[in-house]
């Protein structure tokens, strides 16, 4: 049975700029927004857009991601025909290869795509926070009778040179592609989300693979080749919330924006476009006598006895008496002991912050930065972790980092 469109989700990125957070897990598996992981966004977008077949291309530290995806049931992607499939590189009779680039990852899974005989393939990226209706993107692609479409965002001109830019005419037809140019001719940044006609994608993947000089990358190779051949290429304008959370500061910022949906535009309280996730199964959270909670997002299993301000707490976080958590992202299962002060930072899963320890600081003068504590770390009693610190090993009591 043929599918109209299936999705291929690039989730192999190491996310090295997230340092301690991605030492043991792939970037798409990084927790976000209180009870989600980054990959919940593209997956939920797929389901909400009517896409029921998704291939997830993994490579770097796939264990957590594999277990998290499981049979795809939390996203309603456990289907008889289709559903979600995790696709790591595998051995073939011709030998085995890691995914060499984004295009090569798709190339190595041509046989997977063929099983569904799709008309269109949408290529998604597993490191963005975005609520997007891919069915509207497909409608645009069909209306333009395009062979390739790319979702673009208008970015401020002064920042344009940081992005891959699409130069398009008044009919949105793409005439030129500039990768991080010094002199931008456009402010339409590629979101790295593409719709291809499957026959076209296949043709260009095979051609690209045959070229030993190629980096096998969509941005550097496939798109320029499409342009070279004068293919029908269009730019689809997206204007909703979109954030690449590839760095510690952008990840922290995006979490803080969740706290302020009225201004940031990222609304997780949208019953018409739910973001699905694998649930913790813990009891409702508790705000105990003496606690102070203001402007925060808190989820199941949390126990708050201290002060929590302008922060996001994931499942099962415990904040003991007298502890202060402010401007912080605290991931699941972390314990913040009494008297500890945790500010302006990201604390990963299952961390213990000792009594009276200090982690991070509000920006002041020349000291600013988002302190980061990696998963499973213990910060000893009375220890001090500075605002720029990146901690992935235990910190002894009283030690300063």
């Amino acid at each position: 049975m043929a599918k109209e469109m299936i999705a291929m989700l690039l989730a192999g990125g190491q996310g090295s700029r997230l340092y301690a957070l991605t030492e043991k897990l792939a970037k798409p598996a990084v927790p976000f927004g209180g009870k989600y992981r980054i990959i919940d966004f593209p997956l939920s977008n797929c389901v909400n857009s009517g896409i029921d077949t998704v291939g997830i291309l993994t490579q770097y530290q796939p264990l957590v991601l594999n277990e998290y995806i499981g049979n795809g049931q939390p996203w309603d992607l456990d289907r008889l025909h289709g559903g979600v499939h995790v696709l790591p590189p595998y051995q073939k009779s011709s030998g085995s290869d890691w995914y060499k680039g984004t295009a090569n990852a798709i190339y190595q899974n041509i046989s997977f795509i063929e099983r569904y005989d799709p008309k269109y393939v949408i290529i998604l990226s597993g490191d963005q926070i975005c609520k997007q209706d891919y069915s509207d993107f497909l409608r645009f692609h069909k209306e333009k009778d395009a062979e390739f479409s790319v979702a673009v965002m208008e970015v401020p001109w002064e920042e344009a040179s940081r992005f891959g830019l699409m130069v398009a005419d008044e009919d949105d037809k793409i005439t030129e592609f500039q990768e991080k140019p010094k002199n931008p001719k456009s402010n339409l940044a590629s979101m790295g989300i593409y719709i291809f006609n499957w026959d076209i994608l296949r043709k260009y993947l095979e051609e690209d693979e045959a070229n030993p000089e190629s980096e096998n990358d969509f941005g550097n190779n496939i798109i320029p080749n499409l342009l070279r051949d004068g293919r029908r290429m269009y730019a689809y304008h997206f204007s909703g919330y979109w954030k690449d959370v590839g760095t510690i500061s952008s990840l922290w910022e995006a979490n803080m924006e969740v706290l302020d949906p009225e201004h940031s535009g990222i609304n997780l309280f949208d019953s018409d476009w739910k973001i699905y996730s694998r649930n913790s199964g813990m009891t409702g959270h508790k705000i105990c006598p003496g606690a102070e909670v203001e402007n925060a997002m808190i989820t199941d299993g949390c126990r708050i006895k201290g002060t929590v301000k302008h922060s996001i707490l994931f499942a099962g976080v415990k904040v003991e008496e007298g502890a202060i958590v402010e401007d912080a992202v605290v991931m699941g299962g972390t314990l913040i002991k009494s008297g500890a002060v945790v500010k302006h930072c990201i604390v990963a899963e299952n961390v213990t912050i000792g009594e009276n320890a200090v982690v991070g600081a509000m920006p002041s003068g020349d000291e600013s930065g988002v302190a980061t504590i990696g998963a499973g770390v213990t910060v000893g009693d009375g220890a001090k972790v500075g605002p720029k610190a990146m901690v992935s090993k235990n910190v002894e009591g009283g030690e300063e980092v």
Binding site: G284, H285, K286, G290, I298, T299
Partner: protein
């Protein structure tokens, strides 16, 4: 580890004791009454069963069971989508001559053929008005080691004041025992005795073959209740053992106890006692985390996901998706899923059923002995 053929199957009676809380079962049944911010009563006994390897569970529903069907779906959240066994819901069977069943004997008589076809050696019977995180493995072990015909679980507690005061029997039956070396020698129906009693929990274990025999005979004689009409009269013939349960027990026997048992879970000690034994599963709603907006003032509350809190909340249990607007005051309340308390409203000692709205500026106050109940979807 247990041989799949040696284990027990579970039978739950979701409608039993409905009469105790008429308001709450107006639109549902005992088993689907919301409890502890994100659960329904049946989640506890059902999770206990699956956690103990009881993967063949039947529900003998009688009436008002749509909410329960909606909650359970295919049973996936309790890991009860199984090739062998899994979750079976038996709707009531009625024809010209038969009315829908009454009592456990009537219910079981309707599924005798099913019972005969099962492989499990034992049957666990349970109601849903007693909230426990129960270890059925220990019950089965005790049953085997004592060589009992029937084992009934009980805990030691007083019969509540309000139950002692009622004179009529129209709220159904409860049972207490006299024990000798663990064996039940006397069983009392609706006892008015004061002080600590051996109070039956509605959970019993029995060999499947014996259950079929007992039900067969009893049904022919027109008997209705397994304890009152069958076991009570055969205590000398059958070895009926009591199994003392020392874990946390929350009994729902009226509106007041429903309110109190929710409130008791605000104490960490009680919450841990009920939940730390084994996980309790429930239907997933995929709500976002709850949001506390600047200006919110909260203390001593238990809150599920999907809530938005801008006002003041104290000593309360909030279910999923509750909204407390700016300037609203909520104190000593149990607010079920989707309750909205609008700006400036002031509520105290209120049990709000699902999707209730308390309009702006309204004041509504019950007392600790008599919480005000607002029916489902009502606007105050």
């Amino acid at each position: 580890m247990m041989n799949a053929n040696k284990s027990a199957l579970g039978i739950i009676f979701p409608n039993s004791h409905d009469a105790l809380v008429p308001e709450l079962v107006n639109v549902r049944l005992m088993a689907s009454i919301p409890f502890a911010s994100r659960y329904r009563l049946i989640d506890f006994i059902l999770s206990s069963m699956t956690n103990c390897g009881i993967n063949n569970v039947s529900l003998m529903v009688r009436n008002n069971y749509h909410s329960l069907m909606d909650h359970l779906g295919s049973g996936r959240e309790w890991d009860l989508v199984r090739k062998n066994g899994g979750l079976t819901i038996f709707p009531p069977f009625a024809d010209k001559t038969n009315k829908p069943f009454v009592g456990r004997v009537g219910a079981l008589a309707g599924i005798l053929e099913f019972l005969q076809d099962q492989k499990e050696e034992y049957v666990v019977l349970a109601d849903t008005n007693v909230v426990v995180n129960f270890d059925f493995k220990a019950l089965i072990d005790a049953h085997i080691s004592t060589g009992a015909d029937v084992t009934m679980a009980y805990n030691e507690q007083e019969i509540p004041e309000s139950v002692l005061e009622t004179t009529s029997n129209d709220k159904g039956f409860y049972y207490t025992f006299a024990l000798q070396d663990g064996r039940i020698t006397k069983m009392y129906v609706n006892s008015k005795a004061k002080g600590i009693q051996n109070f039956a929990m509605g959970i019993m274990l029995i060999r499947r073959e014996l259950l079929i025999d007992l039900v067969n005979t009893a049904y022919v004689r027109g008997e209705v209740y397994l304890e009152r009409d069958v076991l009570l009269h055969q205590l000398d013939r059958l070895n009926v053992q009591g199994y003392k349960y020392d874990g946390y027990v929350a009994r729902i026997f009226d509106m007041k106890s429903y309110f109190d048992e929710n409130m008791k879970l605000l104490d960490d000690y009680n919450l841990d006692a009920l939940f730390s034994e084994a996980p309790v599963y429930t239907k997933i709603r995929d709500d976002n985390p709850s949001r506390y907006i600047a200006g919110a003032k909260v203390e001593n509350i238990m809150v599920a996901d999907g809530c938005i809190i801008e006002g003041e909340v104290e000593n309360s249990v909030l279910f999923r998706g509750v909204k407390i607007a700016k300037g609203a005051k909520v104190k000593n309340c149990v607010l079920m899923q989707g309750t909205v308390v609008e700006a400036g409203a002031d509520v105290e000692y209120v049990i709000a059923d699902k999707d209730v709205t308390v309009s702006a500026g309204k004041e509504l106050k019950g007392t600790d002995t008599f919480p005000v109940y607002i029916g489902k979807k009502q606007k105050v």
